[in-house]
């Protein structure tokens, strides 16, 4: 069965700024997967747990966050806070017997860089391996 993942990326202004300036087409040419939708936020430290969970509720198969390096966040501790929240969701997914790898935290320096694209490709690979979200599968099977 063919499967096209729905992956939602939440990236801070600083890590995504220059990448997004290249435009969607240029990003795809660089190898950025078409399965990833970027949601840009001012700082990943402002991301709420409920916002990331809402992405799963709205049909995401995988969710990831890209924030500044741990020791170099523009807002000092923003990316550290985001990493903690992603960790909490990983635990919650495990409690629900869902693969914790469906959500990840990445840290990348600002500007256009291969790490930003590598994170997207890594998530695309992981989610293709895991298959569709069990939240979607159960609902579909019940219809």
């Amino acid at each position: 069965m063919s499967f096209t993942p729905n992956i939602q990326a939440f990236c801070c202004h600083y890590t995504s700024q220059q990448t997004l300036a290249e435009g969607r087409e240029a990003m795809l040419e660089e190898g950025f997967p078409a399965t990833v939708t970027i949601n840009r936020v001012t700082c990943t430290g402002k991301l709420k747990v409920s916002t990331l969970l809402a992405a799963f509720e709205e049909g995401a198969d995988g969710v990831y966050v890209v924030g500044c390096p741990l020791d170099g966040c523009h807002n000092l501790m923003g990316s550290q806070r985001a990493a903690k929240r992603v960790g909490a969701i990983k635990k919650a997914l495990a409690e629900l017997e869902v693969e914790p790898e469906r959500i990840e935290m990445f840290h990348a320096p600002r500007g256009f860089h291969p790490e930003f694209i590598d994170a997207a490709r890594q998530m695309d690979e992981t989610i293709r391996r895991l298959g569709p979200s069990p939240f979607k599968e159960a609902a579909a099977g019940n219809e």
Binding site: V49, S50, E95, L96
Partner: protein, 222 residues
Amino acid sequence: MIIAERKPLAELVEMIKDYDRILLLACKGCVSVCSAGGEREVENLAPLLRLGCKKMGREVTIIEGALVRQCDREYIDAIDRWDGEYDAILSMACGVGVNFIANLRPMTRVYPAVNTSFFGGSAEQGIWAEQCAGCGNCILHLTGGLCPIARCAKSLMNGPCGGSQDGRCEIHRDVPCIWAEIHDRLERLGRKDDMNLIAPIRDWSTAGHGGPRKVVRDDLTI
């Protein structure tokens, strides 16, 4: 304050399996301060419950609500605003809150979303530690303000015991021996001789061993 922890999600999903509409109710008291059952925790738990139920193949409606406290009659009355909108309440308050709803709403189904843990304080951000056992007969004036009832593994009144090693408790190296701390503190305060006082056999009837406890204040009752 009262410290609590969210119950495991699998337990909660099982608890609400017979209901389609849940009122998930935060308490803005202690459990809000210890980040177990306040409005933010309701905001986080609601999608997890929906996802957990969805994984089981069913949809559930979660109504998010909050009461100022769930341990006072007048605040429980505020539940009336959701009348007819829910099948059961999942309370994020401590056990007192769940009991109060059950006491005052005989026909309302109410379930606990948290495990009520202990009376404690925030040792540092994200870490809470037990400080008081609520035993009803406080002896902190004899122990330099440190409670051996709550903080000694044996609740000894005349400690330390032989399991105290290098200021640590024998149950775990991470646990300080509170009697060693009481000794050091009394010494610092020039009250070291208080350690030689023998505490008499303790009356535990105030600690709940005489059944549920009640405080009656004639000056306040109407």
